[in-house]
Amino acid sequence: MNGKKFVCANLIACALAAAFLLFLFLYPHFVIRRLTPRLRQGAEEAKTYVLSEEWEEAEHVFSEVWEAFKEKKAFLKMFFNHEDVDELSVAFDTCGAMISVKEPQARAELARIANIVQYLYEIEAFRWYSLI
C-alpha cells in the first residue's frame, strides 16, 4: 500500500471508529434510559399491590414489567455484563413464582429488580465517580 492510500485508509478507519464509538455512547444509553423508569415504576407499583395483598393487580402489573424486560433482554446482554443481566432475569423468575403463590416476600425480589435496573442505568450514565 503506498503512502497516500495508507493515509486515506487510516482516515477512513478513524472516521468509522469515531462514528461507531459515538453510536455506542448514545444508543445503549438511550435505550436503558427509556427502559429504566418503565421497569422501576412497574416494580414499585407491583410492590405496593403486594404490600396491600392485592395479588391479582400485582400479578397484572408484574407481568407487564416482565414482558418489557424479556423484550429487551437480548439488547441488555449485548451491551451489559451478562452476569448482571442473568441476575436480573433470575430475580424476575423468582418474583413471578412468588407472586403466583401469593408470597409476601415477593416485595424483596421486586426491590432487588429495581436495584439491579438502577445499577445497569448507572453504568451507562456518566458520573464522575464512575471514572475511578
Binding site: L21, H29, K77, F79, N81, L131
Partner: protein
C-alpha cells in the same frame, strides 16, 4: 460505554506518563506512545476473548479508543514540535566532545555500565574512541567516533564506489518475480539465458536467485536438485560453490 471510553483515556495517559517518566532504558525500538498501545491492546482483547460473560463491546470500545488516541498523538506529533517533544521525548547527548555527560546520564537513568554495554554493542570498546554518543528517542544509542577512529570511506580513499542499488530477488521458491525483473531492467528471456549459462534448465529448480548491485547473480538450487550455490557474474563468467 462513555465511562468505559473515558476510563481508557485516563488509563492511556497514566501508562503513557509512567513510561515517559521511567526513562529511555525501558524502551526498545518503539516510541513511548507506540509502546503504550502494545502493552494495553493485548490485555484489553484478552478479557472479552476468554470470558464469555463479558460483552464483546467491552473489548471493542477500549481498543477503538486506543486506536483513535494513537492516531491523534501521531498526527499531533507530526504537526507540532512541542507535542513531539512531549510524546517522543528528545535525544540526549550522553558523550559530547569525548566527555561523558554525568547530568545527561542521570536524566536518562543511564548508568556508566549501561553506556559501556551500548557502546560495546556498537563495536566500541573504549570511551576515548567516541566523540559523540546520543541516546535517541527510541532508546537506541547513536555513536560518532573520533576522526582517527572512523572507518575510511571510498571517498576518503579516492576509490570509485559501485552504484548503490538494492539487491533484487528474481526467483523465489521456483517462481519468477516479474516486478523485480522489470525493475532490474531485464526480461524473462534474459533470465532464462542466465540460468542456461549456469547450467539450470528451469526456474522451477531454483530455490532462490537474486541480483546484487554489482551484477552478480546469486543462485541456490533446491536441495532435491543438487542444492548448490552459484555466484554468477551476468556480465562475465560464473563460479560455483558446493554446499
Amino acid at each position: 460505554m462513555l465511562v468505559l471510553f473515558l476510563r481508557v483515556v485516563l488509563l492511556y495517559l497514566l501508562v503513557f506518563v509512567a513510561l515517559r517518566l521511567t526513562g529511555k532504558r525501558q524502551l526498545s525500538d518503539l516510541q513511548p506512545f507506540d509502546l503504550v498501545i502494545t502493552l494495553l491492546i493485548a490485555e484489553l482483547a484478552l478479557e472479552p476473548a476468554t470470558n464469555t460473560g463479558v460483552p464483546l463491546f467491552y473489548g471493542i470500545v477500549p481498543i477503538l479508543t486506543l486506536f483513535l488516541l494513537q492516531n491523534l498523538v501521531a498526527y499531533l506529533s507530526l504537526k507540532s514540535e512541542g507535542v513531539r517533544k512531549i510524546a517522543c521525548g528528545q535525544s540526549i547527548v550522553l558523550i559530547s566532545k569525548g566527555v561523558v555527560e554525568e547530568a545527561a546520564l542521570r536524566s536518562a537513568r543511564y548508568t556508566l555500565s549501561d553506556l559501556m554495554e551500548q557502546l560495546r554493542s556498537k563495536d566500541v570498546f573504549s570511551v576515548d574512541e567516541v566523540a559523540y554518543a546520543i541516546l535517541e528517542t527510541n532508546g537506541e544509542l547513536s555513536v560518532l567516533l573520533k576522526g582517527a577512529k572512523q572507518k575510511p570511506t571510498c571517498e576518503l580513499l579516492h576509490i570509485p564506489a559501485g552504484e548503490s542499488t538494492l539487491p533484487l530477488m528474481l526467483i523465489q521458491d521456483g517462481q519468477v518475480h516479474h516486478g523485480a525483473l522489470k525493475r532490474a531492467g531485464y526480461n524473462e528471456t534474459w533470465l532464462k539465458k542466465q540460468l542456461q549459462k549456469a547450467g539450470i534448465l528451469s526456474e522451477r529448480d531454483v530455490f532462490f536467485a537474486f541480483l546484487t548491485d554489482n551484477s552478480m547473480l546469486h543462485i541456490q538450487r533446491y536441495r532435491s536438485r543438487g542444492g548448490n550455490v552459484i555466484f554468477f557474474d551476468t556480465k562475465g563468467g560464473g563460479k560455483e560453490r558446493d554446499t
